[in-house]
């Protein structure tokens, strides 16, 4: 076979990208042909240069809030798709400061900072959340709580308590009870809210209350769930502050008197 036929294949040979048989054939030719071998050496230095660049060219680190940004954008998209046009038009007429407030409120909510949300912001955030919730319920992607909650939309899980495998996360946990799974499968009562640096069986609900108390209150262990609001790197006081606000809002049965 002529050299020209081999030459065309050298750009692939140099990266080991030919089928095995062709690699062997070309290798045999290279042993006999100094011209093709010289060309291969040039290609090797090209390939080394590209490899060098590929290995050294590292992008800036992914922003630490990347995941929460993805979540926020998912929610924004839901809102855009689901708020009726008329309502959106009204929203567009609001003063920019109020619109900014709404966005700020959403951000505050999504990061778990629940304080100092004024009435107007709360109203707008609630309106937006209603739209998100409607879709979420349809897609089973979020949990509807027994209150028009705007705070708990990033609960991880939820997991059935008896199937839950704790991973020792840091954050707030919520013990939930599904009252009427047959007729109202997406509504949950909040029975207990706690926080821990390491959420495990023996340091969560059980630390303060026996699960059997909950079973006797709910009638069955089948409908007991746990949701987790992860707060990695949070301090105990931050977690207690947020858990305290949630307890104040939801008044869970098993938090009374604690």
């Amino acid at each position: 076979m002529k050299c020209s036929k081999f030459r065309n294949r050298l750009t692939l040979y140099v990266g080991g990208d030919l089928p095995e048989k062709e690699m062997i054939k070309l290798s045999e030719h290279l042993d006999k042909c100094p011209d093709c071998k010289a060309e291969l050496e040039k290609l090797k230095s090209f390939k080394e240069t590209v490899n060098d660049i590929a290995q050294s060219d590292i992008p800036n680190p992914l922003p630490s809030d990347f995941t929460s940004n993805v979540y926020d954008r998912i929610m924004e998209n839901h809102i855009k798709k689901t708020i009726p046009k008329r309502r959106r038009w009204h929203f567009a007429q609001w003063k920019p400061a109020v619109a900014f407030g709404a966005i700020a409120a959403l951000l505050l909510i999504t990061t778990g900072m629940l304080y100092n949300i004024n009435k107007e912001q709360k109203k707008i955030a609630a309106l937006m959340y209603e739209q998100v919730k409607r879709i979420a319920e349809k897609e089973h992607s979020l949990v509807r709580l027994d209150d028009s909650s705007i705070y708990m939309k990033y609960l991880e899980g939820i997991h059935r308590y008896d199937e839950w495998k704790p991973s020792g996360e840091t954050g707030i946990f919520v013990i939930l009870h599904r009252k009427d799974p047959a007729n109202d499968p997406y509504t949950y009562n909040i029975e207990f809210i706690g926080e821990s640096e390491k959420i495990l069986y023996n340091r969560t609900f059980l630390e303060n209350q026996s699960i059997s108390d909950l079973v006797s209150r709910t009638g069955s262990k089948d409908n007991i769930y746990i949701g987790i609001y992860p707060m990695p790197d949070s301090s105990p006081s931050e977690r207690r502050r947020i858990a305290g606000a949630l307890i104040k809002k939801y008044k869970p049965h098993f938090n009374r008197g604690i």
């Binding site: 050294s56 992008p59 800036n60 992914l62 995941t67 979020l142």
Partner: protein
């Protein structure tokens, strides 16, 4: 190519946001890295990676678990990178501060003066890849910059391996010709060194 643990996907399909978060955490670096090589800068790559996961969230319900999830995710990434580049025109130049100092310093121990050259080379490769056809670009990035095998690329791009090879050969030829224009000595020095042995 690593096969995905289907448990997280199944849970995410059933609405478990925690499982979806795990999928993001598991794949975001690789997705970001592919998008970076396709787009040429970190800002665009971060935007593209976000778009990929938003699309994933919206279409996860339709995903058939008998297919390889990772392959599908990488396919979405390269396609979204191309779409993004079509829509945005600010991708032509790599910012000077794009290649961070530590990466340059970290790789300069054997060739102390090569940091700047490497930065320039990256800029040239970045520009050259824009001259490639979209298919050549996808194949070149996946094979030569990301290190996937031709078989894996054929799965990601849903084409035959022979097609991958055709695009790869053309892409390498073109990138090499362009690099030769700017760095003939670099590409020949090593070759000459080999010749003299």
């Amino acid at each position: 190519m690593k096969y995905e643990n289907n448990e997280n996907i199944e849970r995410a399909q059933n609405g478990d946001l925690g499982a979806f978060r795990k999928i993001i955490e598991q794949h975001s670096q690789k997705i970001y890295s592919i998008a970076y090589q396709m787009a040429g800068n970190s800002d665009d790559a971060s935007d593209i990676a976000q778009e990929v996961f938003i699309k994933l969230f919206n279409s996860l319900g339709k995903f058939d678990r008998k297919y390889n999830f990772t392959t599908w995710l990488y396919r979405v990434t390269v396609n979204m990178s191309i779409d993004y580049k079509r829509k945005n025109t600010r991708h032509s130049n790599i910012p000077l501060d794009e290649i961070n100092e530590t990466s340059i310093i970290g790789n300069c121990s054997s060739e102390p003066d090569s940091g700047l050259e490497r930065k320039e080379l990256k800029g040239i490769i970045n520009k050259v890849t824009e001259l490639l056809t979209e298919k050549q670009q996808k194949v070149f990035v996946l094979r030569d910059l990301q290190g996937f095998s031709t078989e894996e690329i054929s799965q990601i791009l849903t084409c035959r391996q022979s097609t991958v090879r055709v695009h790869l050969a053309k892409a390498r030829e073109q990138v090499r010709n362009e690099l030769m224009k700017y760095y003939p000595e670099r590409l020949n020095i090593k070759a000459n060194r080999e010749d003299n042995r």
